[in-house]
Symmetry: C2
Subunit: 274 residues, 2 copies
């Protein structure tokens, strides 16, 4: 969407990083899509709403200012915003499972009428507090176990508990695949932005089973990692562009001394799964 918009509009910016992948953000800058961090920097230019969404008050301000908008908010994130709004309107105490510093969560909170509570896990819940009607929303990139733990802890304290399972199914599938891959590998390489929530989660899941490196680009790879290693697993975050994955694969192949097996396309990587 961003690349198409760049062809259509001469002057175009994204409000915050469009995705949490610095290399992709750099590439888009070359296409003329600049990143601004604040409404005041937009100066009437067409504005791309990042995949993580923006707060309600920001969207309202953009509309009020008649700014041309290209909305690339992930559909899963939009649903999360809708649900937060619905629960707030219906008088639920909204509890968000997520990272309170993540743009998705910051934006999300603005959609509730009432005050929201953000916790990264069940242990962060206010102690001994009882709730009447409680709504639970999850940041789209959390894993289901954390949501299950939170709900288990809330259940005895709430008269009513309404949970919107807003975990992105693509995220869940990727997490499950990563878990399987990690179990069957001697080493795991997880590729993606160091600020990417879903990539960090993949690295965390993988590291439970096997030695895991979280990298952003091929240049970070060290030859020594592959000493005495037979099965190498590679996975990547939702926002990691294919070209970086190909570069990583080729770098590994190079270090393993099989230059002739290099690929030009992600689908050529042995065992590739979308």
């Amino acid at each position: 969407m961003a690349e198409n918009a760049a062809k259509k509009y001469n002057e175009i910016v994204t409000l915050g990083s469009i995705i949490h992948n610095p290399q992709m953000v750099q590439k888009l800058e070359k296409d003329g899509i600049l990143k601004v961090n604040d409404l005041s920097e937009i100066e009437g230019r067409t504005t791309i709403i990042r995949s993580h969404g923006v707060g309600k008050e920001i969207l309202d301000k953009l509309l009020e200012d008649n700014v041309e908008i290209v909305n690339t908010t992930c559909p899963y994130v939009s649903k999360t915003q809708e649900y937060t709004q619905l629960l707030g309107k219906e008088g639920y105490q909204v509890i968000i499972l997520g990272d309170k510093n993540h743009p998705e969560v910051i934006a999300l909170q603005s959609y509730s009428d009432g005050k929201t509570i953000v916790v990264k896990d069940a242990a962060e819940l206010p102690k001994n507090k009882k709730y009447d009607k409680t709504g639970v929303i999850s940041q789209t990139t959390r894993n289901i176990e954390d949501l299950q733990d939170l709900v288990k802890a809330l259940l005895p304290r709430c008269k009513e508990l309404r949970i919107m399972n807003t975990i992105c199914s693509a995220t869940t599938i990727r997490q499950e695949a990563t878990l399987e891959l990690a179990k069957n590998s001697d080493l795991m390489i997880v590729i993606g932005g160091r600020n990417s929530s879903n990539t960090k989660m993949l690295a965390k899941i993988s590291a439970k089973f096997i030695k895991t490196y979280h990298i952003e680009v091929a240049e970070e790879i060290e030859k020594e990692w592959f000493n005495n290693v037979e099965n190498i697993g590679i996975t990547a975050g939702a926002s990691t562009p294919d070209w970086i994955i190909v570069e990583v694969y080729n770098k590994i192949i190079e270090y393993l001394g099989n230059r002739e097996q290099k690929v030009t396309n992600i689908e050529e990587i042995p065992g590739f799964k979308e």
Copy 2:
């Protein structure tokens, strides 16, 4: 309520056992409150609705027939019926955690517009089935752990999960007190109807920790139970009348050879808690 109603009305019946305590039901029969099992047996007499409630279609029929009603449905059970109706109306697949043969659960199911699913635990859930909007209701006398397990199992399968925590707080308090007592006793006596769901649950909780006897009346007690036993814990179901508890206590005192410690009132029992 039943005893007062018996004074007011000459001809009075209960539709089903008013509570799950055979001795109490017998006592009420002496007061002139007879039990009938079917609408056809009412024959115009004032009718007591049992504590577990009755199905919507039965209540409608009684109203249609202009039968005088004394409604002793437990307020917790009434709430459960209200919630089931609400969830059904709002298009939720209602899942009831409970015993499908228990009158409370049988009645409950009639309050949903849609089809309900009754499971006694998470293992009974239909395998691999995914749900959209799912509402969960618990029989009032279940324990919170079973509800937590059910919710944990449902969460990955549901887009939305709305749980009405309809576990009766009196039941929860009694279960927690029983657990504590069982931990600190060498033997537990649980008193209450063998058909009483909440009494059976107390016995189950207690038996996890220590030798436990579930009895209905003092006559069932055997002297041998108390050989080499120092701390005896006594607990009773919600529907167990005080006089039976006093009889049980006095019988135990008798077997222990301390006749002078017999009591006439439940509050005189050492360590008595409501």
